[in-house]
Every structure is written in structure tokens, then in C-alpha cells.
Amino acid sequence: MAALTPIFRKPFWLVALVVGLFGGFIGLFVGTANGSGPLGVLIGAALLIVLAWFYIYVLKDERAGRGITFAGLGIAGFAAAGMPGLVLGAIFGAIGGWMIYWMYEGRYRAYVPPYLTPGQVLWHFAFRVICGAIFVFLITPILVVLPLSFNAQDFFTFTPEMLRFDPEGYSLKHYRDFFSNNEWQRSFKNSLIIAPIATIISVSLGTLAAIGLSQSHVPGRRAIMAILISPMIVPLIISATGMFFFYSQIGNWMESTLGLDKNLVGYIKVVLAHAVLGIPFVIITVTATLVGFDRSLTRAAANMGADPVTTFFRVQMPLILPGVISGGLFAFITSFDEVVVVLFVGSASQKTLPWQMFTGLREQISPTILAVATILVCISIALLTTLEMLRRRSERLRGMSPG
């Protein structure tokens, strides 16, 4: 087949334009790291354009051309910056060499419908580049902290040892610090106490509110809805200030009149405050799933003699469960990530993980924070993967195809 595919060689200026853009883009980063961004752009673009000219008009052998670019840039990188230079140079060379022939031989046309105009082909690839860039900007900040958390030094810096891939430059001491330091352990424990309880409260109250507010006979339901989701709209710092004074009074009353312990009161205050913040998420997601819920089912259940509570748990709940669970996830993350309200409402015994990270970042820029961040990222990935697998499993059991 390959021999039958017609090859339309592209004009040199087009090849030069595209590989020049790519070279310039990479050159921007290399140049900025070495002191001059514009110079890097020029050198990167010129390098790839010259190589393209050389391969197309002089060498005329694809395999050799790509090999030379790959090995040559890798060696140049090694000469300039050691191991990391080798890796980055080789990657740059491999992509650059591939791109020159990809453009010149018109291979980029191979997987798009043949009737597209050049403008549409351009958009086809521009769209993919934009999507890729969005992923890169979302993911890189998270990926950057992973290697830094293994730093052998107490700074947020890639040390020369780390860049040389010298084992001396890496250490697990920040992970050890997290697991052995009382402050971190206490705040981790607090987060694990506060977030689940706050989530349970938000989910129960939020689901009930959403079901109630979806009944058409409730008077003023739009106004009630607006009030219930207001914690999401009001700037957090303002709700936090209000909550501080409000819960101080309630806390004093619980301590003096009810005689509750100071610590317990502290936890109750933070849990209630976080539940309030989580409720809007539950209401919104559950309301959204209720739109697709067929009301005649509840009437059918009533017809067969089920009381409203049984109807709710046996008929309605299973059908709106996806909304309840995702609302619960949002509520959990809100509480688990929250720093402003807990700083105001909580006292030091209720210090949560975000609070500890916040003060740690301000008072001592310690990579322990990065170690914690890495652990949290892994936990989040594990949690989401489990949920997704459970979802697929239940769909399979119900005889639907996963999707």
C-alpha cells in the first residue's frame, strides 16, 4: 500500500516555517534558562531551518537525516549540560528530525480527509496543539513538584546533584519528616476527622434540600435555593469573618451552658462551617440529576404501598446516586482543601493539613510541603481510579456498556 500512496512534496518555505516555529518555541525555554530568550528563539529556529535545508537539498536520505539530528543534538546537549542535556537534546533532535520529513513529504495529510482545504488542515493541527498546550499547562505544575519532593536539601531548588541524576542529590527525608513530625501527623489526622464528618452532614442535608426544592409546590423555592448556595458565591474571606464571630458565640455557649469540652466544641465549629461550604455543591449536583428523574416512579411506588421513606431509599436514592456521590466528592474536597475558614474558626488543636501547609510555606519554605503534595496527588488519583472502576463495575452489573 505504501508504494501506492502518492507523495506530494511540499515547498521548502512551508517546511522552514513550521520547523522554525517549533525550533523557536523550544529555543525560547533553553534560551531563557541560559540568560537570553530572544537569542534562544533565533538559534533554535535557525538550527532546524538549516538542518531542513541540508536534508532536503543535500543529504536526501531520511534515515540518516533523522539519525544525525537525534544523535547530534543529544551529544551537543551532553557537551553543554551533561546528562539532562543529553536527554533533552536527544528528545528535541528526535522530534525535530521527524518533523522535517513529516512536513516535507506531506505526511501530515495522511490521516485527514483528502478533500480538506489547506486552511482546514491547518486548523485541524492547530486545534490539537491548543488541546495539548492546555494539558501541559494543567499537568506540569503538578509534575514539577514530584522530583523536588525528593530533594536532599531543604530548598525548592533543583540542585546540581539532582540534575546530574546523582543519588546523593535525592533523599526521602521530607517523607520521613511528614510521617514522624507531630505537627504534620496531627494536622493530617484532623483533616481525616473533619472532612468525612463534614461531608456526611453536607450530603444528607444537601440531598434532602435538593429533593425538597425540586417539588413544584414549595413556596419561594427560588429564594431558598439562592440562600442555600450563597456560601459558594460570597467571597470566602467574608463568610469566614462572619463565621468567626458567629461560631465564637455558639462555642462559648456550648462550653459554658452545655459544659462541653473545649476541643470537642472546636471540632464541632469547624465541621459545621465546612458542612455549610459543602452543601451548595451537593444541592447543585443532586438537582441536576433530579431533572432526569421520572416522578411517576414515586407515584408507582406509593401505589404499591411503599411509604415515602421506603420510596426514597429503594427507588429514588439508587437512581440519583451518581449525583449524590459526585456532590459528596466535591464537599469532601472543599473541606479537605479549605484553609481560610479553618484559620478563622478553628484553634490550633483543629489545625488541618492545608493550614499546616499554609504556615509551613510562609514561615519555612520546606520541601516537606512538596512531599505532602505528592502524597495527596497519589491519594487523589487512587480515589478517582477506584470510583471510576466501581462505576464501570456497577454499569456492567446493570448490563450497560461502560462509557
Binding site: Q153, S204, F245, Q249, D261, N263, F313, S347, R362, I365
Partner: protein
């Protein structure tokens, strides 16, 4: 149905566990507020651990000293003071004392005497700058520089900071006028004992800002004590001001190529206050803690963990070696004669009077 029952049972169980867990340390718990980092760690080792061992009191750390004044005001208004002992700088202690947010402490009756029987008020001497404040350490704000980035002649003079010809590169300065204005005037030819007289005038303030203007383009402004150590370690700045204990940690513990520039270091004090309005039981416990934590031996012990000078005269001879590194701490103290050849005394009264005006001017200048 089963689902709800499980939920309810879990909730109830957690609540009960919370109450039970809270019960056994409720009678003997106190919250101590400090700055966090290596400083809190030194207090933990020198004061909290021995105190807990002696009395069984459980101490909870809150790293909130940076916003202590604002938080104490809010707590006082809400009638819910959750802190028992607070570590603040002297200037904040004076403000808190003036506003009635801190309790007055009588040095002679409520603090321990020196081992030779000297009264506490005499042992602390001039450092008792407020009736509510028990000083703990003398620290200094001073400069550190990258030994590998400053060229062949290492800076020995504070004015190297303003000399971008001899020392090209970025420097980090604190994002507030205090200390920076004084250093600017010193390097603009004002004599040391006239600095505050000059700074009290409009022309003097403009003069200081004009001097700072000459290096404005090469300054990175910091607001947390950890910033300059990070910038120095990165090589993003060639020199920068911060607290001397932070620089000690960068040099001796982290082994970075950094050295101290002690010239014109500015001394300041840090110490304890007890918030006003505690219940009698909590107040008694806080006073008992302070009496223990500010005695001669405890203050000397703290210097085993961090390079700040003890505030008591009688503690100075007891300053020993660093607990982990085993190096003698005395030469790293800001008060060591070798380091204190040229020091600058921070003037509390001047800044109490002029802080708001000069702050506004400085911020306007920064934004220009």
C-alpha cells in the same frame, strides 16, 4: 436502609471517640503561639518538652505569631481567647500592652531569679521594654551573601548593599521601611547617632527613599523570613537581609556557599506575652510556664538549637555547643563581640510614633 444505619453509626462512633479522646487531656492543655520553623523547634526542645515532662501539661503549637496582633484583637472582641502564651516581637508587645490585650507581668515576683540570686528585673535589665513583655532572645536582622557570586573581594561593609557597581546582581530586602530606611541613611553619609533625627524629618525620609531608589531595580522584596534563605540558595540574589538565625541554618546546617555580613546589624527582641482575659486557671498555668521557660538555664538551652542570643545576662556564660552539629554557638551569636563591632540599635519609640506615616510613604514609593 442499611446504608443510613451504617452512616449514623459511623458518625456517632466518631463523635464518641472525639469526646473520649478530648477528655483525657482537657484538664492540662495549653496553646502556645510562635513563629514556626526552626524557631518553634528550638522552643519545643528547650522549653516545651522539659515543661511537659515536669508537669504533664500537653502543649499545642500554633504558628500564628505573624498575625498575632490582629488575631488577638478579633479574639478579644469575640470573647473567645484560645491562646495561652504568645511569642511576639517587642514592637508588637508594646502595641498589645497599650491596647490592653496583654496582661502585665511583674518581673521580680512572677519570674525566676538568676542562680546567684540576682533579681529578674536586673538580670533582664534594659531589655524589659514593656510591662507585659518578657524578652526571650536577642536577634538581629542582617545580611548574608553568596561567597561564589560576589567576586574576589567579599563585602565587609553594609554599604556594599547599595554599591551595584562593585557588587552587581539582585539583593533581597524586607518589604517594609523599618531597617531599610536606617541602612539607606547610614550609607548616604548620615552619622549613626543622627539617623533617627534625620528620619524624623520629611527631607530625611525623602533622602532615604532617594538612596533606596538607586538600587530599586535590583531589589527583590521579601515578606517572610524564609524567603531570603531560599533566594540565596537558588542564587537568585547575591545578598539579602533576614534574621541571623535563618542565615546560620543556611550556612551551617544546609552547607550553602553563604557568609554573614554582620556590619550594621539591627538588634531586636522577641519574647512572651500572656493575653488579657484568661480564666484564673489558665492564667496560673501560663504564668507557671513563663516562670519555667525564662529562667537562666532554659534561655541558655535554646541557643543549643538556634543562633539567637539569650535575653538574660546570667545566661550568656552558659551558652554551649549546637545540639546536633556540635559547634560552639557563642561565635554565631549576634551579641558576640566579633560580630557586634558595628551594631545598630532599633528605636522602638521612634517607630511607634512614625510607623504609619513612613509605611504609607514607603508603600507609595514601592508602587511608583
Amino acid at each position: 436502609m442499611k446504608f443510613t444505619k451504617t452512616l449514623l453509626a459511623t458518625t456517632a462512633l466518631t463523635m464518641v471517640a472525639g469526646v473520649a479522646g478530648a477528655d483525657d487531656h482537657m484538664a492540662s492543655e495549653m496553646t502556645i503561639v510562635s513563629w514556626g520553623g526552626a524557631y518553634s523547634k528550638s522552643q519545643l526542645k528547650a522549653y516545651h518538652e522539659p515543661y511537659s515532662a515536669k508537669t504533664g501539661v500537653n502543649i499545642i503549637n500554633d504558628d500564628s505569631s505573624a498575625e498575632a496582633v490582629a488575631k488577638l484583637r478579633a479574639m478579644n472582641e469575640a470573647g473567645n481567647v484560645t491562646w495561652d502564651v504568645v511569642d511576639v516581637v517587642a514592637a508588637d508587645a508594646i502595641r498589645l500592652c497599650d491596647e490592653g490585650l496583654a496582661m502585665e507581668i511583674d518581673a521580680d515576683t512572677q519570674l525566676a531569679d538568676a542562680p546567684d540570686g540576682t533579681k529578674a528585673s536586673e538580670d533582664f535589665g534594659d531589655l524589659l521594654v514593656s510591662d507585659c513583655f518578657i524578652p526571650q532572645i536577642v536577634y538581629s536582622t542582617t545580611f548574608g551573601y553568596r561567597t561564589d557570586l560576589v567576586g574576589d573581594t567579599a563585602p565587609t561593609d553594609i554599604c556594599a548593599v547599595f554599591d551595584t557597581d562593585a557588587y552587581p546582581g539582585k539583593r533581597s530586602l524586607e518589604k517594609r521601611p523599618i531597617n531599610n530606611m536606617e541602612w539607606a541613611l547610614l550609607c548616604d553619609g548620615v552619622a549613626k547617632d543622627e539617623v533617627y533625627d534625620v528620619l524624623a524629618t520629611e527631607e530625611g525620609q525623602d533622602k532615604a527613599l532617594a538612596k533606596l531608589d538607586t538600587i530599586k531595580d535590583s531589589v527583590i522584596w521579601w515578606s517572610a523570613g524564609a524567603d531570603t534563605p531560599q533566594l540565596l540558595a537558588d542564587g537568585e540574589v547575591i545578598m539579602g537581609s533576614t534574621y541571623n538565625g535563618r542565615l546560620f541554618s543556611v550556612i551551617e546546617e544546609q552547607k550553602q556557599p553563604v557568609a554573614m555580613l554582620w556590619d550594621a546589624q539591627v538588634f531586636d527582641l522577641d519574647g512572651w506575652i500572656i493575653p488579657a482575659g484568661l480564666s484564673d486557671e489558665r492564667k496560673a498555668r501560663a504564668l507557671d510556664y513563663i516562670m519555667f521557660a525564662t529562667d537562666t538555664q532554659r534561655l541558655a538551652d535554646q541557643s543549643k538549637y538556634i543562633a539567637y542570643g539569650p535575653a538574660r545576662l546570667s545566661s550568656a556564660p552558659l551558652v554551649d555547643k549546637h545540639e546536633e552539629l556540635g559547634i560552639a554557638m557563642a561565635p554565631h551569636m549576634p551579641t558576640d563581640p566579633e560580630n557586634a563591632k558595628n551594631t545598630f540599635l532599633y528605636n522602638y519609640e521612634f517607630w511607634a510614633d512614625y510607623r504609619d506615616d513612613i509605611d504609607a510613604k514607603f508603600q507609595a514609593w514601592l508602587a511608583k
